[in-house]
Point group: C2
Chain length 477, copies 2
């Protein structure tokens, strides 16, 4: 459109100014998981408030309670909320991001100081720094888009509400309560939501993400004798808890990745034609995953099956055993009680409760068959529901068109295999469509050393957000 | 006999003197596994040399090399060797014991200072202290018997050679080389051997021990991707090493304790009539093992089956997994390589090599069946052969009669389910019968807090050794 071409021009001409904004943000080491950085996290919230206020947003910090950090009770990082525009004839878009980051130390293997944004001296355009892609780059992308509107005198096409939290890397404590309590206040009138806190599947293809797997985490607890025993003295005389546990764990999943718990497969929502097409359209080669895992141990060489395995089918992973010998070397102990840990990734129709019912019944039935005198208990230690949203919603259509305009290609439609619990909270409490619209590439290395965001992704991401807002206004709801 | 009744009288009349000898020995904290006690270990060797010399034994310390202790290269504790008597018309008996002890700290839960021998103030006759039963009490039992002969003017009925090591609790480093190098020198002419470093099966019945199980310790190593992966991103797409490992481990042993590796059971030496009778004669109730394990999770309630399970049949224990998540809590990692640890207790005809051949073939065959793209390797990380000796040898007949005389009952004939590697070294290098003749009871708590030796076991043990030597002289070889 006329509006966005002016905006895009301004963005291109002001690249160094926008990169400077990101440099300022990366320069504040807002690590939420370490009390040593508590003032920096506060400073980062203030930085956002200043920037937002300058851009015409009514912004404020709001407390969300207290928590224990490194043994001390301290305030949780505040949420930063803001809104701009209040036109009843416009759609109201809610955006979410987080201003806290993962820890980073130069000694861990960073090429440059992690809290100094460094443009790759080799000219690749990579912007290195902790938080560059997760999630300061995307958050500032929104601010950049606002500035471009302001500086070019372009009217914002939507009412914009925003919430940026400072505790995402550390469990988002307090956020669910805040959303619940502000549901009919700050969040009133929100039409749809956009979150930019995930990544492209590869390094070349933009994507829109419309689903997340959930997770049920279980422990099978077997106990027998009341003390650890020496296998010399007692091996061959007793029911060993490890034997029972390993036997049960071996019956959960086949080496081909098939979940062996009866009833689980039957629950999975059938694949629709639209879904099938979206999976078949994803730009993905087996080399991508082989590179990512450092080996060729994929269950199949079929790309669609591989993608569905990661994104839309449940999976069961055996994580380990607590209470047994796990160090280097040899120890001949018979542990008296052991806990086997496994998790099941959940997908639509496979929820926390119906899955757990099947798991508990099956494990107990199989344990009975062992004829052991030990005791067995199966416990769900953590549950998170799967999430899926309508990828043909007007918000996705707007993002799709924005991607075509800015990147010159249609986006892949992906789902994340992992969970982003806060997405589920927003979806459940606000009941709106959420479009996950990533800015960074699959190799950005969020949470790793040498985290980076490509200059082109940062700049095009800014344009993408602007374009998306304009398309959103134009789409029929 | 006339001779031993004089000796027994002297022993009874000099109880407090003999207990005082044990108090002096326990008072020297000869912990071999900690550099802080290195001088005390030396002091303990000197104490033995002094005592032995006073009793007419030609005793000396001999170096056995160096080792790394707490990061420093230091001398290994010396062996103390001695001999008394050189009559070609007498049998030559070799005895072994160890003068080093396990670590002990009052804070660990000791009722009294572990390095101060404490007579139970409640009058039970228990003598508490580290090393009281393992192995200072038995070692001093031999010295007491020598003193009784000397003080009563009784001629020793055998030539006696003795070797006491100071490194038993820490792997007996250097001892095998010493035995090998002194085979035709110090050890020349040895007719049989007696070791007192194990325990009665219960608290009431003396025993003679004629066998030890060996042990093969294995690791199954499965590797797949070259880095740990997140189960959200990759669960359902790859062959997970843990799935393969758990599957393989589940195929090693049944919940009924049956080893599932083909060929293993066929190798076990058949039970002879004599063996069967010896097992049936053992004083043992299921309550004994239920008390010892703190539960009723025995594989059977048949006493003979239980004893054979512990002593003469192989067993397979699954010990744990290295490389997988093993802490408290939940972690959703897919470990890239894992090592499953298990051991097989070996019995006659089931040796290190033939067992390992079966294990490696079976695990590799089963791995092939999984159809996994991961890599599998089975490694024997440690092997120790089983040991058995003739329980009807004249040395055992002598010990049997001595037990009847001193304790008023025939001994049980037991085997140890665990290994005592040094027994095997002596048996292999010297080729003599070895009678394991324990002094202490099954509840003495060697290696535990509040280790004790009952006064009666210490005093009767002294008489037992004297009686044994006299019977040995009288038995037809
Ligand atoms: Zn993030
Ligand atoms: Zn993150
Ligand atoms: Zn010992
Ligand atoms: Zn010991």
């Amino acid at each position: 459109s006329m509006a966005t071409s002016k905006i895009n021009k301004w963005v291109d001409e002001n690249q160094s100014h926008l990169i400077d904004r990101l440099a300022k943000a990366v320069g504040i080491p807002s690590v939420s998981g370490n009390i040593a950085y508590i003032k920096d996290v506060e400073r980062m919230a203030e930085f956002l408030i200043e920037q937002l206020t300058e851009l015409g947003v009514k912004a404020e910090t709001r407390p969300v309670g207290k928590h224990q950090l490194d043994g001390k009770e301290v305030d949780l990082p505040p949420v930063v909320i803001g809104h701009i525009g209040n036109d009843p004839n416009k759609k109201t878009l809610l955006i979410y991001g987080h201003y806290d980051v993962q820890p980073a130390l130069k000694e861990d293997g960073w090429k440059f100081d992690p809290f100094t944004l460094t443009v790759d001296p080799e000219g690749s355009g990579k912007l290195y720094g902790r938080g560059s892609t997760d999630d300061k780059g995307p958050v500032l992308g929104w601010l950049n888009a606002l500035e471009a509107h302001k500086e070019t005198g372009t009217e914002l096409p939507v009412n914009l509400k925003m919430i940026f939290e400072g505790m995402e890397e550390n469990g988002s404590d307090g956020l669910d309560k805040f959303i619940e309590s502000e549901k009919d206040k700050f969040f009133a009138g929100v039409d749809c939501m956009c979150i930019s806190d995930n990544y492209w599947l590869d390094t070349k293809t933009p994507c829109l993400t419309y689903g997340l797997r959930g997770i049920n985490y279980y422990e099978i607890r077997i106990s027998g004798p009341d003390r650890d025993l020496h296998s010399g003295a007692f091996g061959g005389a007793i029911h060993e808890p490890m034997t029972d546990l390993i036997s049960l764990m071996s019956k959960l999943v086949s080496p081909q990745g098939e979940i062996l718990i009866p009833g689980v497969k039957d629950l999975i929502a059938p694949v629709t034609k639209d879904e099938q097409e979206k999976f078949e359209a994803i730009h993905f080669e087996m080399k991508d995953i082989h590179d990512a895992i450092g080996g060729d141990v994929t269950l199949t060489n079929d790309t669609v099956k591989t993608l569905m395995g990661r994104m839309r089918n449940p999976s069961l992973s055996l994580h380990g055993i607590e209470g047994a010998f796990s160090a280097v070397g040899s120890k001949t102990v018979i542990p008296c009680s052991v806990k086997g840990k496994f998790s099941i990734r959940l997908v639509p129709n496979l929820g926390i409760k119906n899955t757990t019912d099947l798991v508990i019944k099956y494990v107990n039935d199989e344990f009975m068959k062992l004829g052991s005198k030990n005791k067995c208990q199966v416990v769900l230690t953590h549950g998170g529901e799967p999430w899926i949203t309508d990828p043909n919603h007007y918000s996705f259509r707007a993002a799709h068109k924005a991607t075509e305009t800015v990147w010159g290609q249609a986006p892949d439609y992906t789902r994340e295999g992992g969970s982003i619990p806060i997405t589920l909270e927003f979806a459940n409490i606000l009941g709106v469509n959420i479009c996950l619209l990533p800015v960074g590439r699959g190799d950005d290395g969020a949470h790793s050393t040498n985290e980076k965001l490509d200059t082109s992704n940062y700049i095009q991401g800014t344009k993408l957000f602007a374009e998306y807002m304009h398309n959103l206004a134009a789409e029929q709801a």
